[in-house]
Symmetry: C2
Subunit: 237 residues, 2 copies
């Protein structure tokens, strides 16, 4: 049994290494990669079945790395080990996990015990392990609360990229008015409405929406970057 670790922080990497060795005595080889890009090639080379990785990495984001790893080998078992339970990350992960794949998502703040437990559950028992806090975020997105629906999230991303209504419409094959309708739903969800009080302190709803999304951690820079790359791919087909 071989395990691949992808993590750009040296301290965390060695901590993970130790945790893996101690939690999985049946593991006879642990390989380390320092970022997403290297991790991808390493995974390909090793034909890795078991991966534990960070999400926020400089060179290449964990989500992108996981996406290509899973694309090449959908039955890879991946345990995400992240600092944050931001909606942007959680949503990013659930967007790319293939049908029936097993994975885990634990926070770096959890105890060593739980980390080891998660390693065993995910790798040996093929059981999905999601930190309760992360779970909460996930539910909120789906539930009736002030979470965004998929349609709303997609338009949010397009707006955050800086596209015009018209461009979004043609990309998504919708009429202009429909796009604008969804935008209005988005504005309601994000509570970006003008306090009808005095004249001052009015917002540009469009940019205000992305500001609020950023502050609520619904969106983050890497989500925008991923979307940007998809956009470029689209354009230069």
């Amino acid at each position: 049994m071989k395990v691949l670790i992808i993590e750009d922080d040296a301290l965390h990497r060695s901590y993970l290494n130790e945790a893996v060795r101690s939690a999985l005595p049946e593991c006879d080889a642990v390989t380390e990669s320092e970022n997403g890009r290297l991790g991808e090639v390493e995974a390909r080379k090793l034909r890795a079945e078991f991966v534990v990785m960070d999400l926020q990495m400089n060179e290449r984001n964990g989500i992108e790395a996981a996406r290509t790893i899973w694309r090449e080998r959908p039955d890879t078992k991946i345990l995400f080990w992240s600092n944050y339970s931001d909606e942007a990350y959680v949503r990013g992960v659930s967007r790319i996990v293939p049908e029936g794949a097993t994975y885990g998502y634990v926070l770096k703040s959890t105890s060593e015990e739980r980390l080891k437990l998660a390693l065993r559950s995910v790798f040996l028992e093929s059981q999905c392990v999601i930190d309760r806090e992360v779970r909460g975020i996930q539910q909120k997105g789906m539930g009736s609360g002030h979470g965004l629906s998929d349609a709303e999230y997609e338009i949010l991303v397009d707006v955050a990229l800086g596209l015009t209504d018209k461009t979004i419409a043609s990309r998504k094959k919708l009429s202009l008015r429909t796009v604008q309708n969804r935008l209005q739903q988005l504005y309601e969800k994000l509570e970006v409405y003008q306090e009808d009080g005095d004249d001052e302190s009015r917002y540009n709803l469009r940019t205000r929406a992305v500001a609020v999304a950023l502050m609520r951690r619904v969106l983050n820079a890497s989500a925008v970057e991923r979307a940007e790359r998809d956009l470029q791919d689209d354009a230069g087909y």
Copy 2:
């Protein structure tokens, strides 16, 4: 000599603690705080003269914490120890360092030797130590390159907050046209211009600008949050 450590990652915290003790034998007390908010009160309580802190923290960002610490005691010596050299952080720090204060900025990726060296230089010799990589970012901002001037940066932040031209104008005591002029400078600097090719793939310049700024790491979520708080303070004076 007492040193205060503010860092929310447990591993990094204990690593720092060890580094401080070994680099500064004259240090007889090391205190740890797990986030910016707690760090502020601890600094006040201890009347700390020597602080080493992370920048990116959940509860309260390092920049905000440093700002209040320096406001109460401008001669505090602070060593920032961060994962990133993003322009947003670097600019955020240089914005708040008081006249004549001594501080340092080293990346977490540097070797233990250099960290210890920085600790001694900043705390004992009152010498500013800035990682060469960080230095590079700093220069780029000032220099003639495609860095943003202060005026441009400020308007970028206001736009990213979602304010309208008119609101920005009245806040900054400028005419509407001036604001729009600065916006155009900003668009040039960020190279946000329509490829005059076909009709499709046009951008909404305003939101596109913040997208580009995010991707270039000129801006990040915490910068927006700081600005938002300042804005609220302004409004509810």
